[in-house]
């Protein structure tokens, strides 16, 4: 390899690989924010939604949500760990990410990320601790008499998790409950802030005609809650089905319910949670349509190009995939009487797809037209990676991000079983 080809080999114009330009665009314009930036608000949205679902029980005393509340809280934590990773994957100088914490430049919407994120993480972690403290202490006491290296290790883990607070008297537990309620209460506005702020990152970019709207943060929060509830419900059903399958295969263990009991609990929960899902779905769609109507009615300078993108180039993505398949169809499916678990599963899958498409249409759609308002850019998602960049910003990078929360949840659930019934 000559020096020249060596230089060419490392020379990658970021975005050139997956951007196809049409008509008049500026030379430096490319799709700079790609699928990882779609994953970022999608995952943050799931975090916020899962947390709000658990808080509906802890704060507002919606007792019908008791069983799913514990689970969605832990799941929210697993999602939270993954939420910033798409951003890391996307950075050109990922090794410098700590600068956001070290030298935050507060006029930037991204600068507060570290702080908002850490505060939220602390709230969720401490809430999980208060909810499970009694369980930790009980485990330490139970494992004391058991032999074997596995039990010894487990006991050490639980001892650490108790943080030395072994008091499980009624008075102490009552205090725990109060702490949980308070943390969940603080957590709701912080969760909304965390996600509304992800919306602000886009909504405040005045150079982007599609992104710039004060409605963006609110739209993001609503669709976040929708997607979070849908994912929690979906995962809940899948785990219940798994338990049923295991019971039918291996027989019932002492702490488990019978297969019929599981089935009853399952459909009960599905019906209750889907009510909340419908409510937030209506709010999300209303806001999005309001935004669209307002843009068309006021028809400022950018409307010509926006219209050609919304009603032309991205028509299938926006009106067919997002609004029809992702919103309208699950809405009807959930409203039809006699809701079954299968129908609910299909609906939640469609809702999740719809919210993902909404993020896609905002992030990619916002870069589908040129700053010249006289040209377009098309994004071609890299599927088979042939270098690090096409992996990171391609299909498999995104799938990795989508799969990690489930992996983390699986690990957490080994130590903190959030789906066990008493």
């Amino acid at each position: 390899m000559t020096a020249e080809t060596a230089q060419n080999a490392e020379m990658v114009v970021h975005g050139l690989e997956w951007t196809v330009k049409e008509l008049f665009t500026y030379p430096n314009e490319f799709i700079y924010w790609t699928i990882q930036i779609v994953m970022y608000p999608f995952l943050t949205g799931l975090v916020a939604g899962a947390f709000v679902l658990s808080s509906l029980y802890h704060v507002f005393g919606q007792d019908d949500l008791k069983d799913i509340a514990k689970f969605s809280l832990l799941f929210s934590f697993a999602l939270l760990l993954v939420a910033p990773m798409p951003l890391l994957f996307h950075l050109q100088q990922a090794q410098r990410n700590w600068e956001v914490m070290l030298t935050p430049h507060f006029t930037s919407a991204i600068a507060a990320f570290g702080m908002v994120f850490s505060v939220y993480m602390a709230i969720v972690a401490s809430e999980i601790w208060f909810v499970h403290r009694k369980f930790f202490v009980e485990q330490v006491n139970d494992l004391r008499n058991k032999e074997g290296i596995g039990n010894a290790i487990l006991r050490i883990i639980y001892s650490v998790l108790t943080l030395g607070a072994h008091d499980i008297s009624d008075a102490a537990l009552h205090k725990d409950e109060r702490a949980v309620k308070m943390l969940a209460g603080i957590g709701i506005p912080v969760a909304c802030f965390l996600h509304g702020y992800a919306g602000f990152i886009f909504g405040s970019v005045k150079a982007n005609a599609l992104w710039m709207t004060p409605l963006m943060p609110v739209i993001f929060i609503m669709s976040a809650i929708v997607s979070g509830i849908a994912l929690c419900l979906l995962t809940f059903v899948l785990i219940m089905e798994w338990q049923k399958w295991q019971i039918s295969r291996h027989g019932r263990r002492h702490w488990q319910m019978s297969a019929d009991e599981v089935k009853g609990a399952e459909i009960d929960m599905v019906k209750k949670v889907s009510k909340y899902l419908i409510g937030f779905l209506v709010a999300a769609i209303t806001l999005e349509l309001l935004d669209l109507i307002f843009r068309g009615y006021t028809a400022v300078k950018s409307w010509d190009i926006l219209r050609s993108v919304i009603y032309g180039k991205d028509f299938v993505n926006i009106f067919i995939l997002q609004y029809t398949v992702g919103n309208l169809v699950p809405f009807i499916l959930l409203l039809l009487p006699g809701l079954t678990v299968k129908r609910a599963v299909l609906s939640t899958l469609l809702v999740l797809f719809g919210v993902f498409m909404m993020r896609w249409n905002v992030v990619i759609g916002g870069q589908a037209f040129s700053l010249t308002f006289a040209g377009y850019m098309h994004y071609h998602l890299p599927i088979i990676p042939h270098n690090l960049e096409t992996f990171k910003e391609g299909l498999f990078g995104a799938l990795l991000m989508g799969g990690l929360p489930f992996f983390f949840f699986w690990i957490f659930n080994k130590v903190i079983p959030s789906l066990k019934y008493k």
Binding site: Q7, E10, M11, V12, V13, H14, G15, L16, L23, F24, T25, Y26, P27, N28, E29, F30, Y32, W33, L87, H90, L91, Q92, Q93, A94, R96, N97, E99, V100, L102, T103, P104, H105, T107, S108, A109, I110, A111, F113, I201, S204, V205, K206, A207, N208, K301, S370, L371, T372, F373, A374
Partner: protein, 257 residues
């Protein structure tokens, strides 16, 4: 010693107050404010003047810029570029800037389609570069302060501090920013800051055979650029974004994007 809850709260409040009061007396300064305090009020505000009547679209400025600033020559990204506009008699606007017009406009084809000279109502060239805005949105959105405005108005990038998030690229309404293909951080025109601060012209100004590009100091009333900006009818690009751009154009057409 044991604290009651009441005592603890009172002591904590007192402590917070004692810390907060002197903190209130401290004023946090922007780096450029510090510089201004040290160096005295600025005597320089760099600005650029483009005379679009004089530009012929030869692309020598783009060549010179790429070489001077080490932006890889065969990549489409560039710190400065020239756009060609053709307004047809039926009102249709056609525009292009292939490879940023590095090799000049030598054919009457726009994107493989030839335009019949008889159909053309007017045609002209518009050089573009960073506007070194007075209120730069790119500086506002940088999460780590890696891009900043100097006291003389030029917006610079710290290559050793940029994390490469691309937020500034998104925030610029003029599309002047891109990721440097080698350094992997954001890059843009800085009026050849290494040259102008030594009394030289920018590379593009020196390369232009027709004097279509000029750089000057708006705080010097005798500067040729200042005189033209003050006395003639000049325009700026996309003023509606409130960025207060400092690249002035003579003969700016309403079709220019």
């Amino acid at each position: 010693m044991k604290f009651s809850r009441r005592e603890l709260l009172i002591t904590a409040a007192k402590g917070a107050l004692i810390t907060a009061l002197p903190m209130g007396a401290i004023k946090f300064l922007e780096p450029k404010e510090v510089m201004a305090e040290i160096k005295g009020p600025g005597k320089v505000r760099w600005a650029f003047l483009v005379d679009t009547y004089k530009c012929v679209g030869c692309g020598l400025c783009v060549k010179a810029c790429k070489n001077e600033n080490e932006v890889p020559y065969d990549t489409p990204v560039t710190r400065t570029w020239v756009e060609r506009y053709i307004i047809k008699k039926d009102g249709e606007m056609l525009a292009d800037s292939p490879m940023g017009a590095r090799d000049g406009f030598t054919e009457n084809k726009i994107r493989e389609t030839a335009v019949d000279p008889k159909d053309i109502a007017k045609a002209f060239f518009v050089p573009k570069l960073c506007n070194q805005c007075d209120t730069p949105p790119c500086v506002q959105v940088c999460p780590v302060g890696a891009t900043y405005q100097t006291t003389d108005g030029v917006v610079l990038i710290d290559r050793s501090w940029c994390i490469g998030c691309g937020y500034c690229i998104m925030a610029c309404p003029y599309g002047v920013r891109f990721f440097h293909p080698v350094h992997k951080v954001t890059e843009k025109c800085n009026f050849c800051y290494h040259r102008i601060t030594k009394g030289l012209n920018t590379a593009c100004v020196d390369a232009c055979p027709f004097g279509a590009r000029m750089i000057g100091n708006l705080k010097d009333p005798n500067d040729p650029v200042t005189k033209i900006v003050l006395t003639e009818r000049v325009g700026v690009l996309k003023s509606e974004y409130g960025t207060k751009p400092q690249v002035y154009y003579l003969g700016l057409d309403e079709n220019v994007r």
